[in-house]
Amino acid sequence: MNDIEKVKKDIIEFVINEFIDDEDEAEDIDENSALISSGIVDSFSMVSLKRFLEKKFELAIPDAKATPEAFDTVNNIIKLIDELKG
């Protein structure tokens, strides 16, 4: 497994552990699953997702960048992290 796949897996694992109650739903989550617009991660819970990402990637995500769109899928999140890591 390369680095990027491992990172995706870690983020998905975090989302499942933090936000999913239903085991059936957990199985359906992948890198393209809508997290925010589907209601899995509500805007209230986005704060802990943001904190997790900041800690994991050792960076600060400016509030202006932490939009529902940027956080909506694991792929979007990776894109955002890449951009911030520059």
């Binding site: 933090e18 589907s38 209601g39 509500d42 209230f44 819970s45 704060v47």
Partner: protein, 414 residues
Amino acid sequence: MAFTKARELYQNTLSEIKEAGLYKEERVIHSPQGVDINVEFPAGDPAKEVINLCANNYLGLSSHPEVIKAAHEGLDKRGYGMSSVRFICGTQDVHSELERKLSDFLGTEDTILFASCLDANAGIFEAVLGEEDAIIADKLVHASIIDGIRLCKAQQYVYKHSDMAHLEQKLQEAQDARLRMIVTDGVFSMDGDIAKLDEIVALAEQYDAMVMVDDSHATGFMGKTGRGTHELKGVFGKVDIITTTLGKAMGGASGGCVSAPREMVDLLRQRARPYLFSNTMPPVIVSAALKVIDLISTTTELRDKLEDNTKYFRARMEEAGFDLKAGESPIVPVMLYNAKLAQDISRDIYQDGIFAVGFFFPVVAKGQARIRTQISASHERSHLDRAVEVFTRVGGKYDILGKGKKEIIAMYGK
């Protein structure tokens, strides 16, 4: 016309809301609040008598003759308005008396009144917590708590709904904070389930955290003497902070409060913005609320009847084959999972004189659509029997009786 651009924008937004099926229309009631009400819906239709199954009028006190009488007396003796915030010239003897009585009733040191519990929840966090502190909230707390937390600089943690292992993990993560506050609803308004307050209090003691409970859907009737969720769960006197409303079981007009240790209440009087910058509660409501506390402190008759009614309605609906959210609160959600099905059934039962509303995303999670019914002490068996009869007929029409989540989703989708 400065509004031209905005008007166009708002019209588009409203169209989007309508297209998504999320547009909310008011149903106009031409009678006092109660279990038999006269409703005009849709707007312009002749008003008709329906049985109300969707009010927060748990104890049936909204139009209780003694409460109305106390309101009249309060109006005569203390006037209509105060034209002031509390700390300038808006505190009467009745306000102080109500705060004392609420503290006694809820088992706390002191109480501060707000215009609503939404105001109490919006004001509390930023007034008593700073960036060195941590708030650890249940995922399903009421919207007003979420708004209040957003106004506060404290670190925010969210635990999965009623998941004690997850809460413990968050408490561990927040051990570096100066102060920790666990925040939960007592009874959750959409599912009607009850917070595990006994376990929450034990974890709070272990990890040195305060506990705050919004008991709006519990004050007046949960627990043997109606004190709330803390009484029901055997932790009366052990919950640090209770926010609650006078706008549901406690007469149903308006007003809310924070009931908490003395120093916290005192600090709220100095700093809570909805307290400082919004009018005092009107004397007429304060006077009626005092009567409500007297009534429910003298006898548990109303909350006992509510408990009986709830058990009866739950049992009969289950017998009929409906999929209910399990629980013991008078919030009884009839699970339908599909948003359109919830709307269709709500419309059909209304045709037959039963008034209960469908809830679906974004009010509840996707695939969790339901009709939320709420039982009152004012319901007689005849009301509940009629409701079950109508629900059963309509449930039969949609062929959902005796079917569970998977089967209903298989038929109607999520």
